[in-house]
Symmetry: C2
Subunit: 96 residues, 2 copies
């Protein structure tokens, strides 16, 4: 992941509504209409946010008829850890 892609990913994370979306998806796949209910934004705005989250690779989508289902991408975690390794030095750690 080069600097450009990292910037893209971090920009995607740098918005309160998108963070809320990720937290909602943390528990499993959700339909766009469900996400809309829990956020104080319009449908086009949600669509915009989902595009950013998908484009940076944090979120996967699955189309089923009229509905779009979103979920945290499998390798989303690795992307975050990669940032740590590339820009902050220390290896991945278990800090619990």
């Amino acid at each position: 992941m080069n600097d450009r892609e990292t910037v893209k990913l971090c920009k995607a994370l740098a918005d309160e509504n998108r963070l809320k979306i990720l937290r909602l998806l943390k528990n499993g796949e959700l339909c766009a209409c469900h996400l809309l209910e829990d956020l104080q934004i319009t449908q086009p705005t949600l669509s915009h946010h989902m595009k950013l989250l998908c484009d940076c690779g944090l979120v996967d989508y699955r189309k089923e008829g009229k509905w779009m289902h979103y979920s945290i991408a499998e390798n989303a975690h690795e992307k975050i850890f990669a940032i740590n390794a590339e820009y902050l030095g220390k290896e991945t750690a278990n800090d619990t």
Copy 2:
């Protein structure tokens, strides 16, 4: 770390020059004037970037006479892992 602080941190990471700065600091503390040499930006712009990096807690500073010395903050890694835990679900992992 609440959503607001996370946004602040991710915004700080969402710029190519700041990523370069972090990579430079990865190997240890550096003076501002040294950082300037490796970046194609002016001194005020660097000062601006450093403020953002310090304010979000990713970078520590140490003033020595006229010189400012910057380094990756001790708990910078934990902050990244916290994002993973809070917004992407899975626990901290070792994926090497």
